[in-house]
């Protein structure tokens, strides 16, 4: 594996609400390497987006706060940077694209204006040179007639087109890391596949690392080298895509896989579903946060918090019983 690009260690990001302190991300560590396609998977509220926003330092005070942790990017401690220095990282070296392309672009400015703005912010070029770069960026994401489209306002483009514009904007400054927070969730299925393909091709060409956040294991399967499964603000399991799909170690991962529809089998019974709902992250009790929904939970799961353990090389899991559980009955037979 090449050198590490982003290292997050022991990140804790909390939000204070009237009901109490929400421990949205609670002790998370991971590393993304240069050019790596890193998937972050989990259900709503598992802390995926908060992790991404923490890396971007876009957690809004006073409600939200990075309580502890270190975020190192290309050897530099991001949490120690001055606001001004951090702004150069944002959009320049780490770009981010968001879930809903319908609302992520400012409705009152043309897409050309918004692209040029980003380019001029991070590259020392004049307006006409920036416009050239912007047109090229739109061409790269296969927007027809990019020159004409520069004058369009966001509402004149379809959802898929807008997400292409967001990708163009994200990649226009040639970042080292692209954080894509559910980039295809709001799009229809055919557009999803096109956007994912496009992102993969463009980031492979540029050797850009991608942190792809999604709740859909199907999305990460063909895209990512490594996958991190999160549950209730913590790591559940992390490993190569093959490990996660074929040598699943965590009951939660198994549950996610078991609840996916598959085209390679005839199904007679209902799809598996993980019972219950995620726990509240306000004053969560000790022990495994997944235990109330786990088919394998025992007494120790209430008592002790399972710490991430490396079961085999680069395959981490936070479960007391891994790798000794029979997860096949939850997730079904491995594919192929």
């Amino acid at each position: 594996m090449s050198e590490p690009l982003l290292q997050v260690s022991n990140l804790r990001t909390f939000f204070s609400t009237e009901e109490g302190i929400v421990r949205a991300v609670d002790g998370l560590s991971f590393t993304i390497h240069k050019g790596e396609k890193f998937g972050v998977v989990g259900e709503s509220g598992s802390g995926k987006s908060v992790t991404a926003l923490s890396v971007m330092r876009l957690i809004e005070p006073p409600a939200g706060e990075i309580v502890t942790g270190e975020i190192t990017f290309k050897g530099e401690d991001l949490l120690g940077l001055k606001d001004e220095e951090m702004r150069k990282v944002r959009g320049g070296q780490i770009a981010m694209i968001f879930q809903d392309p319908m609302t992520a672009l400012n409705p009152v400015y043309t897409i050309g204006n918004q692209l040029i703005e980003t380019i001029m912010l991070h590259q020392s070029v004049g307006k006409s040179a920036a416009a050239e770069i912007a047109i090229q960026a739109l061409d790269d994401v296969h927007i027809p007639n990019p020159k004409v489209r520069m004058e369009d306002y966001p509402h004149q483009l379809s959802g898929g087109m807008r997400q292409r514009v967001m990708i163009a904007m994200g990649l226009s400054c040639d970042p080292d890391l692209l954080i894509a927070d559910e980039p295809t969730t709001a799009l229809d299925v055919t557009t999803q596949a096109q956007i994912l393909d496009l992102m993969l091709v463009l980031t492979e060409e540029r050797n850009t690392a991608v942190m792809l956040i999604t709740h859909d294991l199907g999305v990460v399967a063909g895209f990512c080298d490594n996958i991190q499964v999160m549950y209730a603000g913590r790591l559940a399991e992390r490993g190569t895509t093959d490990f996660i799909f074929d040598d699943t170690l965590h009951p939660y991962t198994a549950g996610l896989l078991g609840s996916m529809t598959r085209l390679d089998e005839v199904r007679e019974e209902r799809l598996y579903s993980i019972r219950g709902a995620p726990p509240s992250l306000i004053d969560p009790p000790n022990g495994c946060r997944f235990r109330s929904r786990c088919d394998f939970a025992k007494e120790i799961c209430t008592r002790d918090t399972p710490l991430p353990r490396e079961i085999s090389e680069d395959h981490w899991v936070a479960c007391h019983f891994a790798p000794d559980l029979d997860l096949i009955r939850v997730k079904g037979e491995p594919v192929g």
């Binding site: 959009g91 981010m96 400012n106 409705p107 009152v108 306002y153």
Partner: protein, 333 residues
């Protein structure tokens, strides 16, 4: 675009026509007679009243009266007779109304100007500093002001800023009534400006305070909504400075909804402010209008209603044009 404006103006004229018919009908059927006051005076003969009714055309059927009125009313260039005569004396309505227009415009545009220039920036700043001490203090102040009836506010200002202040300092800062002092025509140019301001400050402030409270609350809410929008997060994620994020990406979007509010207030300006004008003895449209209603002096009421209606039509059109200028999603077709 031009086509749109023309179409809107045509609709506007239809609206005004409908407004005049409805208002006229309502005034005819309120159960009073403009000559009631004369009729109850025993010294005026039946004969004289009959002559008056004929003179004003009040003996004609309502439709005929309306048609005569509307035919004359649109010929605004026939100053000062176009809008008919007041039933209260020899005054021509057009003259009466246009005289009051100046006073009303002075008071109302000053108040509105203050409200826009203070209320809107205040709301924006409150939103930027949400939950700060400044925000809490000013929103509380706005809330209190907004809930205070204008007559309490007006009289309060008179007591504190005119009466008490003069007692404490021995200097007269502000006047509590009228638009100018009686000695106005003898004053030098500089002193005239001073005199005008001394009269204007209290009534204008009374109206402005309440509008400031309203605008700032509205603007704060609108700005907060924009500040929590996805596109603002995108702007931050691009690496823009907080200043650029707010000035370029938030402001324009946050101002769009305020336009409606302000434009309708501008439209209402000509209606004057009845209560404030009464408290400060301000010779404005509001007092003229309310007196005319009480006395069933419908030529005046009609003239004021039509002026306000005209302003509403024009301001609505201007607001819609401003929308299109600020928001590219608005199309005129």
């Amino acid at each position: 675009m031009l086509q749109y404006v023309i179409r809107r103006l045509v609709y506007g004229m239809i609206t005004l026509l409908a407004l005049s018919i409805i208002t006229f009908t309502l005034l005819q059927n309120t159960g009073g007679d403009p000559l009631d006051r004369l009729k109850s005076n025993p010294r005026i003969t039946q004969q004289a009243i009959q002559e008056m009714a004929e003179f004003y055309g009040l003996d004609q059927p309502g439709t005929k009266q309306y048609l005569t009125w509307v035919g004359n009313f649109v010929q605004v260039w026939n100053y000062p007779t176009a809008w008919g005569r007041s039933f209260q004396g020899p005054q021509q309505v057009q003259e009466l109304v246009l005289n009051r227009l100046g006073g009303t415009a002075r008071l109302m545009f000053t108040a509105l100007g203050l409200a826009v220039m203070i209320g809107i920036p205040l709301g924006i700043y409150q939103a930027i500093k949400q939950y700060s001490f400044f925000d809490q203090a000013t929103t509380t102040f706005s809330f209190v002001t907004f809930s205070t009836p204008i007559f309490v506010l007006g009289i309060g200002l008179q007591i504190i800023l005119a009466l008490k202040l003069e007692q404490w300092t021995g200097v007269k800062f502000f006047y509590t009534s009228g638009m100018n002092s009686t000695s106005y025509s003898d004053l030098s140019f500089g002193a005239r400006i001073g005199d005008t301001l001394q009269h204007l400050v209290l009534p204008a402030t009374s109206i402005a305070l309440i509008s400031i409270a309203g605008y700032s609350r509205y603007q704060r809410a609108s700005m907060l909504e924009v500040m929590h929008s996805d596109y603002l997060r995108t702007a931050k994620a691009k690496g823009l400075s907080r200043r650029s994020v707010i000035v370029k990406h938030a402001l324009r979007n946050a101002l769009i909804p305020i336009i409606t509010l302000v434009s309708l207030d501008v439209a209402g300006v000509l209606g004057g402010a009845v209560i404030t004008e009464s408290i400060f003895a301000w010779p404005g449209m509001g007092r003229l209008y309310i007196q005319a209603i009480f006395l069933n002096d419908w030529p005046i009421v009609m003239a004021v209603v039509m002026l306000i209606g005209f302003m509403v039509v024009v301001m609505n059109l201007l607001a819609d044009l401003a929308y299109g200028w600020l928001d590219p999603r608005v199309r005129y077709d």
